[in-house]
Symmetry: C2
Subunit: 318 residues, 2 copies
Amino acid sequence: MGEATCGVDLGGTKIQAVVLGPDGIIGQARVPTPRSTADEVIAAIVDAAKASLDQAGLQAGDLSGVGIGSPGTIDRDRGIVSLASNVPGFTEPVELGPRVSKELDGVPVKVDNDVRVAILGEHARGAGRPFTDLLGVFVGTGVGGGLVLGGAVREGRGSAGEIGHTVVKDGGRECGCGRRGCLEAYAGRGSMERTARELHAKGRKTILFDLMKKKGRDRLTSGVIADALEKGDKMAMRLIDEAVWALGISLASAQNLLDVEAIMIGGGLGDRLGAPFIDRVAQAMQPRLFVPSRPPAMLTTKFGDLSGALGAAVLAGS
Amino acid sequence: MGEATCGVDLGGTKIQAVVLGPDGIIGQARVPTPRSTADEVIAAIVDAAKASLDQAGLQAGDLSGVGIGSPGTIDRDRGIVSLASNVPGFTEPVELGPRVSKELDGVPVKVDNDVRVAILGEHARGAGRPFTDLLGVFVGTGVGGGLVLGGAVREGRGSAGEIGHTVVKDGGRECGCGRRGCLEAYAGRGSMERTARELHAKGRKTILFDLMKKKGRDRLTSGVIADALEKGDKMAMRLIDEAVWALGISLASAQNLLDVEAIMIGGGLGDRLGAPFIDRVAQAMQPRLFVPSRPPAMLTTKFGDLSGALGAAVLAGS
């Protein structure tokens, strides 16, 4: 049983846990991310981990380790997270690793960037396996990125991969990070929602908020946006057009700098909109590629919304 | 004598050759880049190499190898250059390595991207030595880039490092590559000259072209631009302001993605304008950095306008 690890993906909307055994996923659980304090977020992480262990018929003491993928800036050595503006209480430093370990019978906990671990998982076990060089972009509440170069996940000095905060329009739309014109300001679901609310308040018509209520949501989830798109809602189409445009600029620039073999687009919105969305991004990149005859392979994730938690479980065993 | 190598830096304005012995540079020569055909460019490369050998008291047969740093897309295995729009005749594929080797008694010739070899040289022997991760940006006729990651120059699939063709303003100023809004369209000397000529033709005042004639030049060299700046010429100031702005956006985005330890700015314009220019670029980057508390070290080159040729000589011996 010492081979089992637990992986937790901490997102702005939900917390996903999986238990990974030698042959694959043997337990999983999901809880919504509390909208209150860091303490409640940590309690929810522990709850999700325990629920996934229950499903696997295991206890914390059976695990060889726990991995957590978190947004924000990570101090990996100490398991501390900060600057995660989409998670309540996580803008200030939080001792995430030690606190979760304490609640799970002292099992070792590794913490790394949420998107970096998702890319690690997709590279180790998923759609990224055939490639040595891979750029992953996860389009969810925010927009994160992760780089595999020469077969290894790039950490830099701890903050590598933040493609969501590359500039696509100087002085442009306000971003959750406080700056302007970042990729995330156009392609992140959180920013799309802010923009939609502003436009709606100004009297622009949309079915987005009716669909949201009908689905019993209090936020414009990826599913709500996808449904509105399918129904031809002009505001949803405009938001996605802008996301595609911003991704095209940002990914073409990254490709010109790095010349990777493949780019993977995942995250809540990326997974929900799938291959047709990724094809549109590829088309937006094409005229901006320095070597247009040799574009990167464009991939969807294999594990979908489990890729982050699965990657965290891979991290725990690494 | 088998330890000596010759390095050639092929630029849009000049061709620089050095001979590198065990203890450093033992010969050097420089010729202007012909404005005519690929054949004449190759003849000029051979002339420069031979002149540097003369100075070192050596002949081609004494060399263990020749390295050439070239702009454009490089097929390293076959020594073929293409898409080098700033060098006459080099937009179409040119068998640069084999042709130069033939003219130099069959000595082995390695060809790689001009900026990648410059970064290789600065990393192996120059200002980049203390760093494992380094982004080099060479601001000359065009804007090239080179990446050292984990101590090795990144090649990608052959085209890594093209930071000059990252997008700083979508749909913006026309670039030499045929696209719009690239970094090079704002920070490259060639593009600055086109912009200055357009503004001048529209009646905007500047001393740039008077200074150019006074110095006996037919182009706005880095020296002409620097002199005009020192004399407070408004057009030169505007061009440099735009270059600083574009470099700030592009390098901040690259830093957010890669989180390197250091960024080096070289090339004709970078070397000529030096530390004050690099300080201004650092200031332009700062508000756009995702981790503003930990900016990269900002470096000038050690070898100045010899860094490309020196790096090519390092390549020849590698």
